[in-house]
Subunit: 224 residues, 2 copies
DNA sequence: TATATAAGTTAGATGAGTCTAACAAATAAA
DNA sequence: TTTATTTGTTAGACTCATCTAACTTATATA
């Protein structure tokens, strides 16, 4: 059985690769940054995971998950997202509170436990942040999505998630009137300072590119 | 914040002292045995806990919990028992499956989480094994109880818990027809081999003293 | 292409929690 | 009260996950 730490490295690698549209790999520094450890620390652990055949990497090269490593990472991610959903749906946790506790709960070792939580929640497909929950078979069907920053002016789209899960950001999202499943329209872009004018429920706001690139949306006209 | 391990030592010390009617103390070997570690290991940790003022002990003497240590131990015990109740009541876990998973869940750090689980369960007083759940204020009101071994011949009593939580034992308990809140009568004791004849729901069985001392009961005539 | 910067690695150290083996103190038994 | 047994302690070693500081390789840019 893997340690909490090993599981976290696998999950980090999966999460980094999920955010990349093109390649399924991540560098040592990226992984270290994701986990808030120094590159030297990550380097040691990556060696260990390679030895256990959970990742592939060559010296001075990037890391990728093996089939086995991917399977485990998906299980951890599934647990994380199911726990988030549980906390949100059943225990009155707010959107921005769930992540921290789920980071702990995702490491509980009990297949029965997580399957029963899944059943209790009626087999949800998305967590409170709009992220896809891998199913019990380790499959993860991700719809066609992009960020608010990438959306065209005049288009209307649906918010389905966020990239940044910090409380600070989530509270800011609330303030603008945004939330999962809300319709949002791009009104204009300011040449001068790059601010993007959006409209949610008839309320207009201006947001920065940094904000926009952390909001995940499905374009109304996107092919699914 | 304390580590999982430190919490486990405090809980072990509390559990040992709870089972002793007379004294609130435990020896190094007892604690080591409870946690499945060697005495040398326990000795090191007890030193550390003493330094943190969570336990009292003198060289070659027994250990006791300080006020602060007792408070923490009760919190861990409360979490353990609430999680057991949750697993049993909400997630279809059986009586003998809950302990192992609760051992993991009891270390999750989130006051809100455990208070919400408490609310979801409607503030229960007893866990599925019949043990008292300490309340949110760290108080634990224990009714007057003894073991089946201590009960007099001819007396009738109610089973309220077990001391041994191993699957092996719990399955044995089931087999005899015993369960929480069942009435059980002591019919006789065999001089020759010390077996105790009991009756549950009209069904008679013979059990060993070892079995009987692991069944906790409240005598029908006990002063409460 | 030469060099500066970024990315990755190595070596050596630390603290937590565990072990074994040898030893010391306390307690029970003869 | 002496001895045997149980209980507790110490010393030294190991693994895991982390760090810092110095070093090497790869990549980007001038």
């Amino acid at each position: 059985m893997l340690s909490f730490t090993e599981e976290n490295y696998l999950k980090a690698l999966l999460q980094i690769t999920l955010e990349k549209v093109d390649k399924d790999e991540a560098g040592t520094n990226e992984i270290a940054a994701q986990l808030n450890v120094k590159p030297a620390t990550a380097n040691d652990m990556l060696k260990k995971l390679k030895q256990k055949k959970l990742i592939n990497n060559e010296k001075y090269g990037k890391s990728t998950l093996t089939m086995e490593g991917n399977k485990i990472a998906l299980e951890v991610l599934r647990k994380h997202r199911l726990w988030e959903t549980f906390l949100y749906e059943k225990l009155k946790f707010t959107w921005d509170e769930v992540h921290e506790v789920a980071e702990q709960l995702e490491h509980i070792q009990s297949k029965k436990l997580i399957d029963e939580i899944d059943r209790l929640l009626n087999y949800p497909s998305f967590d409170p942040h709009g992220d896809v929950i891998p199913n019990a078979n380790g499959e993860m069907i991700v719809p066609n999505r992009k960020t608010l920053l990438e959306e065209k002016i005049g288009h209307s789209c649906k918010m389905v998630g966020v990239k940044d899960n910090s409380s600070t950001f989530l509270q800011y999202v609330d303030k603008v009137g945004l939330a999962i499943n809300k319709q949002v329209k791009i009104l204009s872009r300011q040449e001068f300072d790059e601010l993007i004018e959006i409209e949610v429920d008839g309320k207009k706001s201006s947001v920065s590119p940094k904000f926009a690139e952390n909001i995940i949306i499905i374009c109304d006209k996107c092919p699914q």
